[in-house]
């Protein structure tokens, strides 16, 4: 039920982000979702792509430091308090969200959010028990 995400260390320098997107694009890799966390010196680019292993390989060849993590893609009811209902369910069970970002596509009637948890398995159990949908990796890579 988990989704693979790659993160890339990027120094705050002109053109570095484009170096990543060019390398991926030239290898025929499509970016499905992304988020960028930044500090004054560097940023961490987190990507969900349609071919994680190839993306990792291509970027490593370009000397980027790449890290693979498992995240959870959950369907969020697309209405006021929709996201809040998920977060409250997690909060009640003391599950902490490290970070999260939105996925640009819809899946049936739901918006999709990507969550990074310390313990993704536990989080998935809670989400499912509370009636939320959790997407499989294949579905997310090819939405």
């Amino acid at each position: 039920m988990k989704v693979e995400q790659i993160s890339i260390f990027i120094e705050n320098q002109k053109g570095r982000l484009a170096d990543v997107t060019r390398a991926l694009g030239e290898a025929g890799i499509n970016i499905r979702a992304l988020s960028l966390a930044d500090t004054s010196d560097y940023g961490i680019l987190r990507l969900i792509v349609d071919n994680t292993d190839l993306a990792k390989q291509v970027l490593k060849e370009k000397s980027f430091t790449v890290h693979k993590t498992e995240v959870v893609a959950a369907g969020v009811p697309d209405r006021p308090l929709g996201l809040n209902s998920i977060l409250e369910a997690l909060d009640k069970e003391n599950v902490n969200v490290e970070y999260m970002y939105a996925f640009p596509e819809h899946y049936s009637d739901n918006a999709i959010m990507i969550f990074r948890f310390d313990n993704p398995d536990e989080a998935i159990r809670i989400l499912l028990e509370n009636g939320f949908s959790v997407l499989r990796g294949e579905d997310v890579y090819n939405v």
Binding site: Q5, S7, I44, S63, T65, H67, E98
Partner: protein, 433 residues
């Protein structure tokens, strides 16, 4: 094993009487043959015949690197040029290089000291010595080469550079000993890894590493990444080249200085006062046997102390503690003396941190700033900002605890810090305009 049993294990008393005889001899030679020394001796009111004990060494003048520049190129040679069979020069980062000349006996003596050094490091006949020190004006390449031949080992004269070829030769020729700078040994392992090779599986047993200051933690890293014994060797071209002092493989704790050829002293670098054995200060060396360019009380600028206690290996020659830096490498940041090796030891003790780093010293609004650039790698990288911030904070805190200065830690992308094929360029001091 010991190469020259008789001289390397001379009882202290016999060693010191040999030193005195040789000191009287070299003082007489320079007084008669080198105008620079005659003037200096006369100005201090001392004649070579007044040297009656080793204590009188303190009455003799110092020799500075600047004196060598002032007498460029041959002014300090103590024999006619016709007796010089080889000339080396040290890389002058500023201005003219310092020039040294060797007579045939000097070359023979040097070769023996290098052979002694190889044996002290655990090498022997039958070893394949991969000599990656630069051949040329720099003394490293030829110095190690002649010593390896004197030992009777098979020497591969690789010189520096062309790292991928070095790795191929090392693997195919079955090199068992490598001689290079410590930073280059790590670079070799890194390049090999990129080529899909693990140096740990090569036949290498021993690394004889020198020509730049390094730390105990860097030694552990090298020993782990190359699966070798990493031995510290010390030398400087003004005195000889490589083979002035070396660690023995038995103790790996302090470098035996070949006292039948060199007379070491430790002084306070500020005042020139001679310090008792065991105290830390600047190393000063008098060459006892060199003919081409004998030097009296040469100020090396290297900071160390003399370890007088006997060594388990049986050699009676005293040891020098691992050099903690050069007094001219020393950075003064906001009034605090900082050696790059101190910062290095902090970095090496943090799990996962890369051996590649650079220090940027600058001045902003009359305040010195220190930035430490550290490469992020797979071991230290995370998708969470806080993990990286914790790493920076940890480095910052440990530097602060050790040196009392606040620094900025900048994490940089892998392979962005220039790899050096010779001496690593660790410091960029932008205050020097």
């Amino acid at each position: 094993m010991i190469w020259n049993d008789e001289f390397e294990t001379l009882p202290r008393e016999a060693l010191e009487s040999l030193q005195l005889k040789r000191l009287q001899n070299v003082a007489t030679r320079v007084y008669n043959m080198v105008p620079f020394y005659r003037q200096k001796f006369d100005a201090m009111g001392i004649k070579p015949t007044q040297i009656k004990s080793l204590k009188d060494l303190g009455r003799l003048p110092f020799t500075l690197k600047q004196d060598m520049r002032d007498n460029y190129p041959y002014g300090l040679f103590a024999v006619p040029l016709a007796q010089i069979v080889r000339i080396h020069a040290s890389s002058g980062t500023t201005g003219k290089p310092t020039v040294v000349g060797y007579t045939r006996r000097d070359i023979d003596g040097w070769s023996e000291l290098m052979a002694r050094s190889f044996v002290a490091a655990g090498a022997h006949q039958g070893d394949v010595i991969h000599n990656a020190y630069g051949y040329g004006l720099f003394t490293g390449g030829l110095g190690a080469h002649y010593g390896a031949e004197t030992l009777g080992a098979s020497v591969i004269p690789m010189s520096g550079g062309n790292t991928k070829k070095q790795i191929m030769i090392m693997q195919d020729f079955g090199s068992t000993v490598i001689t290079c700078t410590p930073s280059y040994s790590l670079y070799l392992a890194e390049v090999a890894k990129e080529e899909g090779l693990d140096v740990r599986n090569f036949k290498l047993r021993i690394g004889i590493l020198g020509a730049e200051p390094w730390s105990e933690s860097m030694r552990r890293e090298i020993e782990e990444k190359l699966n070798i014994k990493a031995i510290d060797i010390y030398g400087l071209s003004e005195i000889l080249g490589p083979g002035v002092a070396i660690e023995c493989v038995e103790a790996q704790n302090g470098l035996h200085i070949w006292e039948d050829h060199f007379l070491p002293e430790i002084i306070n670098p500020e005042t020139g006062e001679v310090l008792p054995w065991g105290e830390k200060g600047e190393l000063v060396i008098t060459t006892l046997t060199k003919e081409g360019i004998p030097l009296i009380r040469y100020r090396t600028r290297d900071i160390t102390r003399i370890i007088p206690e006997p060594c388990i290996c049986g050699r009676t020659h005293v040891r020098l503690e691992r050099m903690s830096g050069r007094s001219d490498d020393m950075l003064i940041i906001r009034g605090v003396n900082v050696f790059p090796s101190q910062i290095e030891s902090v970095l090496f003790n943090i799990e996962g941190v890369e051996p590649h780093y650079q220090l940027i010293v600058d001045r902003e609004e009359n305040l010195d700033t220190l930035e430490i650039q550290v490469e992020v790698n797979e071991a230290t990288f995370s998708d969470e900002i806080k993990v990286l911030q914790d790493l920076s904070e940890k480095i910052r805190k440990e530097i602060k605890d050790l040196l009392g200065i606040t620094c900025k830690v900048r994490l940089v992308e892998p392979k962005t810090i220039t790899r050096s094929e010779g001496k690593a360029k660790r410091v960029i001091d932008k205050r020097i305009k």
